[in-house]
């Protein structure tokens, strides 16, 4: 809000310059964040935290200044008559709802002439960005900005029956407010009514019918205290936010209603003329002023600094608190010299935010100045505990980075059709809907990281970035069904970690060094295998028999599976609809009993999905179910002696019928139980040429090696025979 330092100086007179005062206020909790104008017309932009409604006015800020500089704060004493010159006021005030309205103070000014506001008032209001309306309206607005108390002026002659009733609205009642909008009222709304109808929405806005006009002769000034929760409920329901509701919602000062009322009356009478009536002040409920025990030892325990008791008392008194020596339940003990003092502190009516000892400690600390409290470091015993999955997460992240994928972050929100389409394992999930989404396209929580990754691919392709590799690790969500991670967190939403990586474009940047060659399914599969290799699972065939690794010498040693150790990873074609049915796979980890758990689904994006998303090149994407993966241990490397004896390599060129896959060859060969068969490498495949239709040639490279001896020609020959026979049993034949 805008604040005029000149106005503050009506009440307190520091010798410091305006700029110095602003800086002192800022370090004490009233943040002055902007400076406008010069000299007496200078204004500040003050950022006042929601709890400090008492400082949302000039007098409140002057009180802060008086505490900071230890100066007296001038009282405001309006010049109004105690007794009306025009005889008794014949208006009755009834508060029907003590919960909603604790106090209602009013005065009547008869015989006013509504005109432009006096120059001084208008100027001050304009300085702080308020519009000057008339002498009567401005009086109310001026007092709001001076004292923080909202008041309202009614045209007395428009109030029917000469009475004011504070009550809840009745069924079907409406009220046209000052802004010309007809409001439908609900029974929870607190209203000010005359004998027949609501005339104001209490604490929020007055009614149009009873507003001050140029014809107004007699004015009723209302200065009341309304319950914060009640005002807030109505203001929120009606979508209204006014200067008055802003203050009432946060807790106005129930002690100031007579002063504010008199001050408005004084300003009206002095500018618009008229006779001021005596005050009517109805109090139906008192707002308790807490009495709080404050110990100087507690101040020290929390702040870490010894603040002299006299300083504590001085600060609180300047802020308007009543400070008595001694605890609340015993007389003053006057423990001078012990360093320990107890106070009983009574909170002023304008500080509804202060209820406890800790709140008083904050008051002391901020006026004493945070800057004067010495910095210390706490002592520490104990160790840093790592999250159980931290190392696994780090392993995946560093491998993906090493493989050339850039780390990305995409939106948590996806459209409904994506939330329903991008389901992973074939089990449909109920997506989580946002009640108040930012847009229709962002109305569901992501059920998968895939749509976000695809949007980012599209973003890149649309901007000419044709080679894209991205990964994202993040949470995905679904409504809860059954026992999952979400339940562990006590929610009915299943929220779990997921990981996706995506690649499209060239396998390497085409240049003199590298022929242009597109990425393929196998690039993606290889990258996935590199990720899985971080975990303790033997690679290769898990379908019984000894494990036969598929690749080169970097592979982990063959292990045995058991209760704890899984048996291996299998790939099959069970994939969701958004993947290309012929170029996608599911990776599962298989246990001793042959039961599988899905670790990843991956492959080429279905061409129709790509088309629908206007992706004009092949996109390869993998979704990794990291919660399942984290169930596996990280692979602990162990040294195996390197054989001193030479390996023997043999190539076999087979012709195979279409449909015989490498997996079946590997399965068949591992069933031979040749311990010396260490590597099985698919070296080449070829179709066409002189080959019969429905067949293809397959060059298989095998390596035999023993850790104990040099292999003999005859045994290698015998194994080779076995291999040929095995492949022949699949319908293959050795190529002549």
């Amino acid at each position: 809000m805008r604040i005029s330092p000149n106005w503050i100086r009506d009440f307190v007179s520091p010798t410091a310059s305006d700029r110095e005062v602003a800086e002192a206020l800022t370090v004490s909790g009233i943040a002055i964040e902007g400076y406008f104008g010069e000299g007496a017309d200078q204004t500040w932009e003050a950022e006042i935290t929601t709890n400090r409604v008492d400082a949302m006015n000039h007098y409140g800020i002057a009180r802060e200044v008086s505490a900071i500089y230890d100066l007296d704060l001038a009282p405001i004493v309006p010049n109004v008559p105690k007794i009306s010159e025009s005889g008794p006021t014949n208006i009755s005030i009834v508060i029907d709802d003590a919960e909603g309205c604790a106090r209602y103070t009013c005065r009547i000014v008869r015989g006013v002439a509504v005109a432009a506001a006096p120059a001084k008032i208008a100027h001050r209001l304009e300085l702080i960005d308020q519009r000057s309306i008339s002498n009567v309206a401005d009086a109310s607005n001026y007092v709001l900005n001076e004292l923080g108390q909202p008041t309202h002026a009614f045209d007395l002659d428009k109030l029917e029956g000469g009475r004011i009733l504070v009550r809840r609205a009745r069924l079907g009642e409406t009220l046209t407010t000052l802004d010309g909008v007809e409001r439908k009222l609900a029974s929870e709304d607190l209203v000010i009514a005359d004998a027949s109808k609501p005339v104001a929405l209490a604490g929020i806005m007055g009614g149009e019918a009873t507003m001050i006009t140029s014809a107004t002769r007699n004015v009723l000034i209302e200065s009341a205290w309304f319950d914060p929760a009640s005002i807030r409920r109505t203001a929120r329901r009606l979508g209204m936010h006014t200067d008055a509701s802003h203050r009432y919602e946060r807790g106005a000062d129930c002690g100031i209603t007579p002063l504010a009322c008199a001050r408005v009356a004084e300003l009206i009478a002095s500018s618009a003329g008229g006779a001021v009536s005596a005050e009517i002040d109805i109090v139906v409920r008192t707002i308790a002023q807490p009495r709080i025990a404050l110990a100087s030892s507690e101040v020290k325990r929390i702040l870490g600094v010894e603040i002299p008791s006299a300083e504590i008392a001085r600060i609180l008194r300047r802020l308007g608190f009543t400070v008595e020596a001694g605890g609340p339940f015993k007389p003053s003990v006057g423990l001078s010299g012990s360093g320990h003092t107890e106070f009983t502190v009574t909170v002023p009516t304008w500080r509804l935010d202060v209820e406890r000892e800790i709140d008083l400690i904050e008051e002391v600390a901020r006026i004493y100045s945070y800057l004067k409290i010495p910095s210390t470091l706490p002592s520490f015993a104990g160790g840093v505990v790592e999250l159980p999955t931290a190392r696994k997460q780090a392993a995946l992240r560093s491998r993906l980075l090493s493989l050339g994928y850039n780390e990305s972050l995409s939106s948590t929100f996806i459209p409904q059709e994506d939330a329903r389409f991008f389901v992973s394992a074939g089990t449909p999930v109920e997506p989580v809907r946002i009640a108040n989404p930012l847009s229709e396209e962002a109305s569901f929580l992501r059920t998968s990281l895939v749509p976000g990754m695809l949007s980012q691919i599209a973003y890149n392709l649309n901007r000419g970035n044709s080679d894209v590799r991205l990964f994202e690790a993040g949470h995905v969500y679904a409504m809860l069904s059954g026992k999952t991670q979400g339940e562990a967190w006590g929610a009915s939403v299943d929220e779990h970690r997921s990981l996706a990586f995506v690649a499209t474009g060239a396998a390497c940047e085409p240049s003199v060094h590298c022929k242009p060659e597109p990425l393929t399914f196998f690039h993606l599969k290889g990258d996935l295998e590199q990720l899985l290799a971080a975990f303790d699972v033997p690679r290769g065939n898990a379908e019984g028999g000894p494990h036969l690794p598929e690749g080169g010498p970097h592979l982990p040693a063959v292990g045995k599976c058991g209760e704890q150790t899984p048996c291996g990873i299998t790939f099959d074609r069970t994939v969701p609809a958004w993947l290309h049915p012929g170029r996608a796979a599911r990776a599962q980890v298989v246990d001793k009993n042959g039961a599988g758990k899905t670790l990843a689904i991956f492959g080429q994006l279905h061409p129709e999905v790509a088309l629908a998303r206007k992706l004009k090149q092949e996109v390869f994407i993998a979704e990794v179910f990291v919660e399942a993966l984290y169930g596996l241990a990280l692979r602990q490397p162990a040294y195996a002696p390197i054989s001193k004896y030479p390996a023997v390599e043999r190539d076999f060129s087979f012709v195979l019928p279409e449909g015989v896959e490498f997996a079946s060859i590997r399965h068949q060969l591992s069933a031979l139980h040749i311990a010396e068969l260490t590597t099985l490498l698919p070296a080449e495949t070829f179709r066409g040429g002189s080959l019969a239709a429905g067949t293809y040639s397959f060059l298989l490279r095998v390596r035999f090696q023993s850790a104990e001896r040099t292999l003999r020609d005859d045994e290698v020959a015998a194994w080779s025979q076995q291999i040929v026979k095995s492949v022949e049993s699949l319908g293959g034949s050795l190529r002549q």
Binding site: P378, F380, V384, L400, G404, Y405, T412, S455, Y459, C514
Partner: protein
């Protein structure tokens, strides 16, 4: 004088020692004629490479041709190796006989590359700038003895608000711009689900589970109903911290954050503390650092003020301790929190927060 032996078996364990004997002889004979002039070099060449009965020829006849089909492959490979080694050695001897200086030069010259061509780069992935900033923050606090804690992004009203001393219908809730999960009306208010607006719920979850002393940081994703623009994103990251023990003071809060900021930005950085308001801390404080980008002289990130507001912090409100059954008379503590995107934007001079969420390769690759 070396002669090529006949072989009966052709397995690698026979071939390997045989090749080795041949190479030894080659080296010995080459060394013997060193400096012997062109004639000696000529003889050397003929002995090893003559078309008719040179040693290479003999290896071809006695080993390669004699090997059975099953061993042809092994022997062929061995022969190729021998041939290359012999040719190179003969070449060397011939060159050196002509001119000792010309020897390497001529041959190396023929191998010259255009070294101004770019190298073959295998692309490395790049950490996301926001997560990289978060990594740095985490590492500072881990070194100061803080463990990492995590929690769900879909939270209940209880953890996001109530236990953090935001009473129901309190105006302070308005500042949080909360995104709510649909269809929660039937549940009691405290169980209604929303997207957490800060990572503070993790502090509550941590204290519920663990007895003091507590020292944790809670990094994570949070969501608010903020329409995206250059400085707002409905998705962003926070890092919060919590330290609770029997004797933690406001001075410790100041010292800890001052130390952390100096670790992060260098020892010249100063910190400043001024009062603020958060429902879950009392006293509350806003922490600014002297601008590490301009040294306090004034620049764009600090809006010419020389200071940057970076953290919210405060002493844990006793009411919060009440929700987790900690005794506020015996315990005290401080909490702090900061937005990661904002710090990343200042650190890397990013002027639009949306850039963090596009996955634009041209953007991400700048952080390599």
């Amino acid at each position: 004088m070396y002669t090529v032996p006949k072989l009966e078996y052709f397995s690698p364990d026979v071939l390997d020692p045989a090749s080795k004997a041949l190479f030894d002889a080659l080296k010995a004979e080459s060394a013997a004629i060193s400096g012997g002039g062109e004639k000696a070099a000529e003889e050397f060449r003929n002995r090893w490479m003559a078309q008719k009965n040179g040693i290479l020829r003999q290896v071809n006849d006695l080993w390669l041709k004699a090997a059975p089909p099953s061993a042809k492959r092994d022997v062929g490979l061995t022969f190729a190796t021998i041939k290359a080694v012999v040719e190179e050695e003969v070449d060397l001897v011939m060159q050196s006989a002509k001119s000792l200086v010309a020897l390497p030069t001529a041959r190396l010259k023929s191998q010259t590359l255009d070294i101004s061509l770019p190298g073959i780069e295998r692309p490395l992935g790049v950490r996301h700038p926001v997560l990289r900033t978060l990594d740095e923050l985490i590492s500072v606090f881990v070194k100061m003895g803080y463990s990492i804690a995590e929690g769900p992004e879909v939270e209940s009203d209880y953890y996001n608000f109530e236990a953090l001393n935001f009473p129901p219908n309190h105006p302070a809730r308005d500042t949080q711009d909360t995104l709510f999960i649909a269809n929660q009306e039937q549940r009691p208010q405290r169980d209604r689900l929303l997207l957490r607006t800060h990572t503070s719920p993790v502090q509550i979850r941590t204290m519920e589970k663990a007895a003091p002393p507590v020292r944790v940081i809670c990094p994570g994703k949070v969501h608010r109903n903020d329409a995206p623009d250059a400085t707002h994103s409905p998705v962003f990251h926070q890092l919060e911290g919590l330290c609770v023990d029997t004797n933690i003071t406001f001075g410790d809060l100041k010292g800890t954050l001052d130390h952390a900021m100096k670790s992060l930005f260098g020892s010249a950085v100063k910190t400043s503390f001024r009062p603020s308001f958060f429902p879950f801390t009392e006293p509350s404080v806003e922490v600014s650092i002297s601008c590490p980008f301009c040294g306090g002289k004034g620049c764009r990130p600090c809006k010419q003020s020389g200071w940057i507001e970076l953290l919210g912090a405060g002493m844990v409100d006793p009411n919060v301790f009440g929700f987790v059954d900690y005794d506020p008379k015996k315990l005290s503590g401080f909490a702090f929190g900061m937005g990661v995107e904002r710090l990343a934007m200042m650190t890397y001079n990013v002027d639009d927060i949306q850039q963090f969420f596009y996955g634009d390769m041209r953007f991400l690759e700048q952080f390599a």
